[in-house]
Symmetry: C2
Subunit: 186 residues, 2 copies
């Protein structure tokens, strides 16, 4: 309030309802960040702990599938872990916005990083989704076989771990939009 | 100017430099939109026209690879075509922002759709990248063979068409950030 006073002398009487709405937006921002954090962390853990050993083996090989057999899944884990770490680090700034609902520079910074993180998370999630789809369906033209017939629980686990990631991406889209609304309501 | 006057009486004397900066931002916005449009359209066309027929065939099969043999590439074309269509439709609004640099509702709308389009474009590009990577390297664990040895020009074409898509995604990140800066400078 004291800082904002320099520029916005004319807004003194209308500042109470505006900052009330912005506080509501900031609280929603905080909740969405926690939701996205839980989603991405759960995805990273679910994918990162995926492995399956088949109950039969030959003399030379054990049939075993781990998430890091596929580089795309490794990228998925890194992307989700990175985004969830960022979301935790952004929580103090989100709390700051609840207290100081007229802040703007810090909202700009959040929008920028949220957007970058959205791109990273969507990239990880959709690359993994492409591979999961291939594992389920295979591709006859390229002679890639569906591996889900053998590695059933591996496939279910990797498919399931996509959900948290997409929830996180959806939350990030809302977060960017909310920050923009808060900026324009200032 | 006339509309903004209702709320921001106190800012009258400082409005000229602010709107000047915002006009610059709006012009940069316009240029970036055209860049992203060209990138995504080129990607859609390059991928959508990709096919390769190998110079040998058996009695029963011709060895032929088309982009829509892989569903992920179809999604890539749809995503890129959709985003480039959106970018053309958003150009009039971008021009409106150059003329009326204090507009805010329309900037909010643009931020929302830009973010959604960024997610769509990144999803398409990175899913295609995952498949292209697989086509180049294969995966011994899953018994998926690298098909690029046979379909060489097919692979080069699909790899190349990713570039425009990633340029578009990068431009969209900048566009969202620029809109946020313009909103906070209002």
């Amino acid at each position: 309030m004291m800082k904002a006073g320099e520029l916005e002398i004319g807004e003194a009487k209308s500042s109470t309802p505006i900052s009330g709405v912005n506080r509501g937006i900031s609280i929603l921002d905080f909740i969405l960040r926690i939701l996205a954090f839980v989603g991405t962390l759960a995805s990273a853990i679910a994918m990162g702990t995926t492995n399956e050993t088949l109950p039969f083996f030959t003399q030379f090989t054990r049939f075993r599938a781990e998430y890091d057999d596929l580089p795309t899944f490794t990228f998925f884990v890194v992307a989700n872990a990175g985004v969830s770490a960022y979301l935790v680090l952004s929580l103090p700034l989100s709390i700051f916005h609840i207290v100081r609902s007229s802040a703007q520079k810090s909202r700009n910074i959040l929008i920028f990083f949220d957007t970058a993180m959205l791109a990273l998370l969507t990239a990880g999630a959709s690359a993994a989704a492409a591979i999961v789809y291939l594992a389920h369906k295979g591709n006859t033209k390229a002679n890639w076989f569906a591996i889900c017939q053998q590695f059933n629980s591996f496939c279910e686990r990797t498919s399931g771990s996509l959900i948290g990631s997409f929830v996180g991406a959806f939350a990030l889209i809302l977060l960017i939009f909310l920050s923009a609304v808060a900026l324009s309501r200032r």
